[in-house]
Homo-oligomer: 318 residues x 2
């Protein structure tokens, strides 16, 4: 109902009378007043003038579902959005929703995470109102072994959206880091619920530093604002990310992983570099020559042999 009230207020440039709104939504004036109060409580600045009615003066700087959905234009992604001011981890919420049967495209977004998760059990810093922290449920018909491709897909979509909205070129470090000026701008954590031969659903968690101030305790981190020197609209960026993911995901479903990998190659900063990969199986050093159709990184060691790695931490050597 509150979404519908906002829609009416947005459509009107002038004041919308209480009578007009309550009639078109078939609710009482009293109920309307209650909804308006609740909208104000979530941060909407709604002006009320006697004999004129209501006007939306300003929307809050929050990634609220109604704001994200407004003019989004997607068909699959973000038709369902769950918003939280604070949550331990958006991935954990989305995992539970996935088990309960939440449809493909469901998004869980939070203003802050108290236990934001990175890869391999690491933590992810999620300062309130500064970054974009969301998780997306997808249900592709793939095997668990193919799921790394979805991480590549989403990381490319994010770089495309950043370029479009902020005009800067973010790069991807295999497998899941978004870099800007060789520092960490964001990361993706893909979690899987599956049988051995088919995925039930994936939860793709995205953490992105947007308007964060320089954090001296995280020297390897960077935010978009640090580079653009301007406040970035998290809402515009989030919407563009969701649109790009939808577009890239539909392309993946039609054309398969090669389309994803070609796009990933454009944005990657790993291929062609000398890298060191640390994993449970030890170290591997060599030139990152290409990426395989399942998302694995192909490395040519100094003896000229090509080895594929599916997991591990990559260091770009100087």
């Amino acid at each position: 109902m509150q979404d519908k009230i906002l829609e009416i207020l947005r459509r009107k440039n002038e004041y919308a009378s209480g009578e007009e709104i309550s009639e078109s939504l078939k609710i009482s004036r009293q109920a309307l007043w209650k909804h308006i109060q609740e909208l104000r409580d979530s941060g909407y600045d709604i002006v009320a003038v006697p004999h004129l009615g209501y006007q939306l003066a300003a929307s809050p700087d929050k990634l609220l579902p109604a704001e994200i959905k407004h003019n989004l234009g997607t068909k699959l992604i973000a038709k369902n959005i769950s918003f939280f001011d604070a949550v331990p981890s958006t991935n954990d919420v989305a995992l539970n929703m996935g088990i309960e049967g939440a449809p493909e495209g469901t998004v869980v977004v939070a203003e802050t995470q108290t236990k934001g998760k990175g890869r391999l059990g690491r933590s992810w810093s999620s300062p309130k109102h500064k970054g974009i922290y969301f998780s997306l449920i997808l249900r592709p018909k793939i095997s668990p072994a193919q799921s790394p491709v979805i991480t590549l897909l989403v990381s490319s979509s994010i770089c495309e959206a950043i370029k479009e909205v902020c005009g800067v070129e973010a790069k991807i470090k295999w497998p899941n880091d978004i870099l800007l000026q060789n520092k960490k701008l964001g990361g993706i954590l893909t979690e899987i619920s599956a049988e051995t031969d088919r995925v039930h659903f994936l939860v793709i968690g995205v953490g992105l530093n947007v308007n964060n101030e320089k954090n001296l305790s995280l020297p390897q981190a960077i935010s978009l604002k640090e580079v653009t020197q301007e406040h970035v609209s998290r809402l515009n960026l989030m919407q563009e990310i969701l649109r790009r993911i939808e577009q890239d995901y539909l392309t993946f479903q039609k054309e398969g992983s090669s389309a994803v990998i070609n796009r990933w190659r454009e944005y990657n900063s790993t291929l062609g570099k000398r890298v060191k990969v640390t994993s449970d199986n030890g170290h591997l050093e060599g030139i990152a020559v290409d990426i395989d159709s399942d998302g694995g990184l192909l490395i040519r060691n100094d003896a000229g042999l090509i080895r594929k790695v599916m997991a591990g931490d990559v260091t770009h050597c100087r």
Copy 2:
């Protein structure tokens, strides 16, 4: 506490006095009496004779944790057991417990499942007290792509246990069926919770027809009792399955997947046969020539080409 009371009753061939039991467990006589009542309610036949004390006359024909743990002798598997008279699906319970952090080796067992799950969203019939229905949580350090090997491992362990306890030779149809006389005796459903490059935990669900009567509506199903013509102790069989899984799992951790696959080859009924595989990607027909190190089935088609399948339904052609 009830486990400890049962332990004392089992240790004594004669009567154990109430005084003796309550002193050694440091509980009141009244508390002891309450526990004895509860044990009787779960099906234990405990005889009480004035001036003599208590004696365990008979244990219930149920897969109760105390019964399973008694003389089990494992170090990792089934140290934690959750028992349910009825549950929608032991796999679903185990998945939730896994997310909550249940340790490796945790077992969820039920006398019946109201929504027992088979592979690919199919159902599994679980008549009360007749079969063995349990799920096991394992936390191997492997990638999701390697997890089919664990299904092969558990299916081999089950065949070993059936041979030991019932003296009949069950066979495995790739990927997850346990066959006896070419009919379906049981199945395994392995579910995965993971990141793209490492497994958080696996839930291995086992359903096995033990003392089931012939079900005319399931002509392709068979039970152990139908073949042995004798009532089979579900408890003995379940214990032996758990022991074999532990042994085979420890071997896997030391020696890797080749040990698993060699044992699987002994029990399989698929290799060497002409098979038809139906999957999302269509049909494939040919001779099943071998199994790959990741658990995939290698099929030589009529043109002589070897193709690997990771998923699908296999029909053994005549």
